[in-house]
């Protein structure tokens, strides 16, 4: 399989990021291209493990050793088939997934792991270039109708799976474009929207119906869905941002990341964003509160908007530069990660808590008061470490606390679990017959790859539910072998 000694011959190698000076001046992807020969060499590093930890590290259980081998052999077309067998949107995960697979890669025990995520991206990019990704409409129809609420990764993955299983699928999206967080949450320099559009085109040609501006429970009555569809899948995400309840929070210039980032995405789409209410970092002293991926997205966006300065606050202590013994292989390592955005400037601060904001006479935020804190779980303020920082823009990127409750859930009457998410049984069905939930809405804020996984599994559950209803399938298309 593959090259049994590949891992000893080739070092780990990734495509280069474009120089910072160049990339902070545009909104396109930051990576340079990577020669095919190198792509294959990197795939040859895969050891085809008897127990491939990578593929359990991967929430969609990508058949990583299988497609690594195919890439090594230059069998791209089969590789993309194996890739698509478990993942509807590898072009997305190949770009923005934090790659738990690589953390679990066996080679990672004592050497740099296989560049699984990069190989995934190469496979699907290759497939698009070659025109191998084409609509795969079902060859039969079940006559069943499914409504999918929400067009993020969970909803879309579910929609594609359900459509291919022969059901009529309609996706309802409250925003003006399909894609959810992939559209408006992730900056273009990480995910150019054409990548998303070409996938949506495929889904449309497969027969998925998209309805935008349709806010179920608001402008689309829940009853209509229940009347018109045999099953409903809720994939509305967990968009309720976690807030920072300190004095001065109400001041102008303090925004949730998800108020800030979508605006820039719209600008990149060419939409006119009104001056009023525009949140821009240019020329400002920016503080980002929250050291995670969203924080990094705000960081990259702020630099591209030409912020004067950017500081990032994280309440947790600085993680070790290598894998912590507390998170031994193959666990997701507690470890300092340096993303592209971090290279572009700004200062990362650890063990900092914000105590209050102070504004100017116009109600604009001007000062941030903070203090150093001890380690979790107490985060005790350290006396004498209080400080004050001059700020113009504060972005809150502290995560999300669950689905937004503004009508739909209440009207459907689905039960909510202890963590504020939609409660489901093992089969992804909510407490209401025929109503299913998936993605962040069900499991809480998580990774895109988890959303895809959820969407696929929920789709299988919906399919099984629908099949149990008589006259489910037209079996006349079954062929004869001999």
């Amino acid at each position: 399989m593959g090259k049994s000694t590949g891992f000893m011959e080739f070092p780990r190698e990734l495509p280069e990021r474009r120089p910072v000076v160049e990339r902070v001046n545009d909104w396109v992807e930051i990576y340079r291209s990577f020669p095919e020969e190198k792509q294959q060499q990197q795939a040859a590093r895969c050891m085809d493990c008897g127990v491939p930890f990578c593929h359990t590290g991967c929430p969609v259980n990508n058949l990583i050793p299988d497609w690594n081998d195919l890439v090594y052999r230059g069998r791209w077309k089969e590789a993309v088939r194996r890739l698509h067998a478990t993942n509807n949107f590898p072009e997305i995960t190949g770009r923005i997934c934090p790659a738990p697979c690589e953390a679990a890669c066996v080679l990672g025990i004592n050497a740099p792991p296989v560049t699984i995520k990069q190989i995934e991206k190469n496979i699907i990019d290759h497939a698009y270039e070659e025109g191998w990704v084409h609509p795969e409409p079902p060859s039969f129809s079940t006559g069943k109708r499914v409504a999918v609420v929400g067009s993020g990764p969970a909803g879309l993955a579910a929609a594609q799976q359900l459509r291919r299983a022969g059901h009529a699928v309609t996706v309802f999206e409250k925003a003006d474009r399909i894609g959810g967080l992939m559209r408006y949450g992730i900056p273009n320099f990480k995910l150019e929207k054409t990548i998303l559009d070409r996938r949506l085109e495929q889904m449309q040609l497969e027969g998925v119906t998209f309805v935008t501006g349709a806010h179920v429970g608001q402008n689309v009555p829940v009853e209509d869905l229940q009347r018109d569809f045999d099953a409903i899948l809720l994939a509305g995400g967990a968009e309720q941002p976690r807030d920072l309840n300190v004095p001065g929070r109400e001041l102008k210039g303090i925004h949730f990341a998800m108020e800030f980032l979508p605006q820039q995405n719209r600008r990149c789409e060419g939409d006119a964003v009104s001056e009023v209410g525009a949140i821009l970092a240019n020329g400002k002293r920016v503080v980002i509160i929250g050291g995670g991926d969203t924080g990094a997205d705000c960081l990259g966006t702020s630099h591209r908007q030409k912020a004067l300065s950017v500081e990032q606050f994280e309440i947790m202590p600085v993680p070790p530069s290598t894998r912590s013994p507390l998170t031994p292989w193959p666990l997701w390592p507690m470890q300092l990660r340096t993303e592209g955005a971090h290279e572009e400037g700004g200062k990362r601060n650890w063990s900092l808590a914000t105590t209050k904001f102070v504004g100017d006479e116009y109600g604009n935020v001007k000062q941030l008061h903070g203090v150093q804190v001890g380690p979790p779980p107490k985060f005790e303020p350290q006396p004498g470490t209080e400080f004050v920082l001059e700020v113009d823009l504060v972005l809150l990127a502290m995560g999300f606390s669950g689905p937004v409750r503004n009508g739909m859930l209440e009207k459907l009457g689905v039960a909510i679990d202890a963590r504020g998410n939609v409660a489901t049984s093992n089969g992804y069905m909510t407490t209401v017959e025929g109503v299913f939930a998936a993605g962040d809405m069900r499991r809480g804020q998580s990774l895109v790859v988890w959303a895809i996984s959820e969407g696929r599994k929920a789709a299988a559950a919906v399919d099984e539910y629908l099949r149990a209803v008589p006259n489910a399938r037209d079996a006349s298309l079954v062929g004869v072998a001999g």
Binding site: M1, S4, T5, F7, M8, M47, D48, C49, G50, V51, P52, F53, H55, T56, G57, N61, L63, P65, D66, R75, R81, R82, H84, A85, A104, V106, L107, I109, N110, A111, E136, P138, S139, F140, R164, G166, P328, W329, P330, L331, R473, A475, L477, V478, G479, V480, A481, G482
Partner: protein, 1527 residues
Amino acid sequence: MSKFHAVSAVPSAQGLYHPSHEHDACGIGFVASVRGERSHDIILKGIEVLINLTHRGACGCDAETGDGAGILIQIPHRFFARECAELGFKLPEPGAYAAGMVFLPVEKLNRLQCEGIFEQIIREEGLTILGWRDTPCNGNAIGRVARASQPYIQQIFIGKPDGMDEDAFERKLYVVRKLAEQKIANSSIEDKEIFYIPSLSSRTIIYKGLLLAPQIASFYGELSDPEVDSALCLVHQRFSTNTFPSWRLAHPFRYVAHNGEINTLRGNVNWMHARQSILESPAFGPDIEKLFPIVEDGSSDSSAFDNAVELLFQSGRSMPHVLAMLIPEAWAGNPHMKPEKRAFYEYHASLMEPWDGPAAIAFTDGRVIGATLDRNGLRPGRYVVTKDDIVVLASEAGVLDIPAANVKKKGRLQPGKMFLVDTVQQRIISDKEIKQQLVSRQPYEEWLQEKQITLDQLPEPSRVYGANPDTLLRRQRAFGYSEEDMKMILEPMASKGEEPIGSMGTDTPLACLSDRPQMLFSYFKQLFAQVTNPPIDAIREEMVMSLSSFIGSERNILAETSQNCHTLKLPHAILTNRELEKLRRISTGDLLATTLPTHFRSEDGEAGLKRALDELCQRASLAVRSGYTLLILSDRGVDKQYAPIPSLLALAAVHYLLVREETRTQVALILESGEPREVMHFALLIGFGASAINPYLAFDSIRDLAHRGYLANGITPDTAVKNFIKAVNKGLLKTFSKMGISTLQSYRGAQVFEAIGLNRNLVETYFQGTASRIEGVGLDVLAREAQMKHEYAFAPLNDSETDLDVGGAYHFRVGGEEHLLNPLTISKLQHAVQQSNPKTFKEYTDLIDEQNRNMCTLRSLMKIKESKTPVALEEVEPAKEIVKRFTTGAMSFGSISKEAHETLAIAMNRIGGMSNTGEGGEDARRFTPDTNGDLRRSAVKQIASGRFGVTTNYLMNADELQIKMAQGAKPGEGGQLPGYKVDEVIARLRHSIPGVGLISPPPHHDIYSIEDLAQLIYDLKNVNPRARIAVKLVSEVGVGTVAAGVSKAHADVVLISGDSGGTGAAPLSSIKHAGIPWELGLAETQQVLLLNDLRSRIRVQTDGKLQTGRDVVIAALLGAEEFGFATAPLITMGCIMIRKCHLNTCPVGIATQDPELRKRFQGQPEHVINFFFFLAEQVREHMAKLGFRTVDEMVGRVDMLETHLAVDHWKAKGIDLSSILYSPPLPGRVARHCVQKQDHGLEQALDHHLMKLAQPALEHQQSVEFSMPIRNIHRTVGAMLGGEVVRRYGPAGLPEETIRFNFQGSAGQSFGAFLPNGVTLTLEGEANDYVGKGLSGGRIVVFPPRNSSFQPEESILAGNVILYGATSGEVFLNGIAGERFAVRNSGATAVVEGVGDHGCEYMTNGRVVVLGACGRNFAAGMNGGIAYVYDERGDFMQKRCNPASVDLEPLIDEREIEELQTLITRHRDLTGSPRAGWILANWNESLPKFIKVFPQEYKRVLRERGEMVIPTGELPTLTIAEQVQHG
């Protein structure tokens, strides 16, 4: 009712014990007067031979009860006439009456009833009863157990009707005996099973019983009467694996005494039964039906064989003819055999299949007496002819004291050859003459040419099925193909023509527990040879193997006509589509084919399957009656409605139906199936009766792979198919050889498999006679599984769904098969031991035990009961005591890195457990502690078949010596360490050459039978009396009886390995399909040992993926007192089950020798220790709940286990563990664990005497020299002395010749074994097998008696397997040695005057000079060292040598020539060899006749090192293809 029969002593089947598992092996012999002169002396000599073979037999728990012994003599007329006259009846002339020996029930009424029936039959058949005579027997002369089961022994005398000729009388007696046997067996007489007629003949009579050899004369007092005389005396001493041998199973039988084992028995018996309906013989006429069943029910292999001999002999063939037919020479793979002889064998091969297995058979009809060996020659046989024309033949030389001056000739039985004394013609007839007579009986060659058909002769078919890629995916799915099948099975087979290799064992659920639909094939496990018969090396000893077979309608085997060979000869059993079409359309002679579809309507489930099978059987039955001779069972044409019947099920259904209808031999069954694709599938189909198989879907799939460019460059679809067939055939040969079977013809129908988890109903209906011991699934589940695959196949498909199921059977895949070792369990275990966290360990064991509830293993179905009287945890013995019972598995330094190997050893030594060297020696530097007190020495030293690094010093530095008979992952197979893994250090430890690959043969060449194992145990115990001796076995049906034999062979420990254990490299089909779980093997072992009361003297160990405290407790409750672990400790050291051990690319530095990768090793002894202590603590917790304070109390308490009641799994619910959880009802005094030590009988060893004499040398290094006589009963002479020398002086031993012993006489086995430096043994006389075994520096010189007159270079001087595994030292033999001379020699120097077959096999180092003739297959697998052969006959290159791995060259290098000359000079000086003298005297003429046998690998390495002068004038070498081709 008692589980024991009152008298026969053989318990009925109970628990996991079944009487049919008994094996035996033995000593055989005969004494005969060539002139046919009757004398009482012949009998006395025979008894003496028997007594001198006593060590080849065994006794059970009752030291006075033997396993059986007996003698066959001519009717002692003078004696009987005298005795009968006294009883009041007169015997007619010799030949005019018959005497019968009859075993009868002791109880009078029963006895009289038997006698009555017997008499009635005699009268009905027209014979007259002359009278009965009580055979005087002395019950006091025999053992307690024997006495308890002693039958009432009578003799009957029957008169021959006037005018009836002698042969007709014998035939009538045969009819009478068969009728009496049947009638009494079918009667309602109590104790009827005791009735038995050892002999009934006008020529011979048999005295036998459950005796030890020395008891026979005192038990049968009349044997001492001087008037009892005979011109011949056939004797036999039995060694049964357990202690239920019965009176009737003692040898000799009516015509033969057998040392060996018929591996294909099941098939042979079935075939004999199947051909009954067409038996016809003018000799019998209508009487023939009275002989049925030809083979007695419930008989042993030897007895069944005797039945077959009797039928063929009585219907008119001579004894030699019968033997040549049943146990043919290896003809198919021998291109040098004369065409007329090949024709003889080939003709008879088309009549019937060989009875295959290791065998030395002594036979007689009362006039001729002889012996023959099977084609492999795996049993010893030596003979002497005296000047007064007495012949003595026995398993050993020296069984009779014959003055050297009286010896005319000495010889040995040779593979496939016959030795015959004709007392009527009064001469010895050579094998050559016998065979010449046989081959000229009929124009066999003409007959074959005229009647035999080959595939080539058949017309090309007009149409052949092509591949249909459009339906391929659906068909693949319907037959259960997975991505893994394509990638891991078919691709390597099609690319390389070889079976795929894997490593690290298996951890997936048994088929009967898996949630996923399985193939029926997966419910079966291959049986394999261990101890009671040896596996064969199908590669190095390819010449005995054969895949050819004959199909068509079998005729009456009693007739000898040209029509009998009107069959179609197939070179192998795999048919291409074209070949199948040829057969389908065949219309040559009376060959006619019909195709029977094998589908069932999927939606009808079980009912549909049952109906389809019934219909199939009806059609098959009808087809046979209509005259079809080839039935093609075909599953082509699977569609939306119809699913395929599992191919094995369809085949077996038809096979057994036709066997029952006695028409089976009239047709050949051919499979046309999409299902088979692995070697195991083909093996099963052949093993259950298929003649040929067309795996069309495998072909289609391979073609598809080739089209898609998946195969290596340049492999066309046609080549790929050829490669696949080649791989299957190679795999089949390997599979046969694992069971010790040589030919496809005898494997066919031999059903050497065990089923795991098939219910009784299914097995009895379709797989009769196959062991299946835990019940399980039936037709309903098989139907459901077929349905599941079918539904998946015909579900709607779309574009994105174009792949097969992921599989996951070999490599873990989410959504694939379950694995016990998965990312979660592996990481939890590693985290637990690295962080010393018992909580994480508990999480790990919960996952495993939880998985057990999800059911992977048999123990997952078990529940540990809770005691009503638990004890406090503090009262349970401490963990530090429990860990002493833990051992780590045998992993060689070579298979794993130095770092890993030593970490394990340090860990185990710290906690007082034991680590195991594995095969491959151990660095002596590890024998002394490190400065920190750590000891890197492995407590267990393994002795495996390669004997690498097994020096005296190695043996002395051990607490346990473990003889590895088999390995769980690949039982019945040898091993190979590829050259790239053999670095300087490994080579040094293995006494080989760096860079040169090393082969461990499949068998131990000194263990072909149980008595051989006893001998090796004795050898090892002699060398190191302080070490305990362990024998490692692998679970299979019957392992319990083998374990009983091991206990009787005085092993201290028996290890029962499960089938799932890890391995560095093994064929995937072996990893998956050979051997059975340890739960079954261990439980069977415990039960059988208890039934024999042998448990008390042997410790039982078990291993095979033991992982948790629960596993250990279950093993203890089932009967183990020690526990082995390999995979789990490896994981604690960082193993992540990458399963790449065989590629040397282990990324964590464990299973690799790559210096860079070894640096990555991060294992620590502490981690290993943590694991064992966590484990012990868990065991303690269980013990507290169970109420046991010590492990000893827990051992064998199977009553504390029960089956999980909650099992509601669709498959598992049918499983019944009661046979595993069975405990024989025995009194409390029968100990359930080991409480006493084995009596090794060392005190009788001659070495005690030698050591006393050698005191000055041992203590003060003073030279000593003594002379004394020696006999064959003196075994292993020199080993204990040698061990003592090394114990005192280390591996360097003593200065040369410090100790000298000069012996006169016949030395017993293992003369000079493990002799170290400084000891010289000289023997004037002769030696038996294993001279210089493991020689470690000593010198052995053997020459014939100075006053003998025979030619040394023509006479046998020493037995088989000389210098096995020798590492250094010298041997000079002035005479011929037997088979496998210098096998696996890795450093000794030897000069010999001639050798048998397979000389220098697997040799890796050392020098061997052969001054005379060689047998065949010289240098097979030889890849180091050099041999020089004096090729006087000039046929060495062409016929004698196996050139696969060696080059043959002339001697050119002056230095080398001088060395050779020096060696021969020393040989002459030490032995007085006249031949050596002559060669030296004529050196210039002799030198060109020496051929240098130079291993290619060795040469390559020398060349790379620049150490070799390359000779210029190389001799032309033959290619393998020219040399060994299957016919």
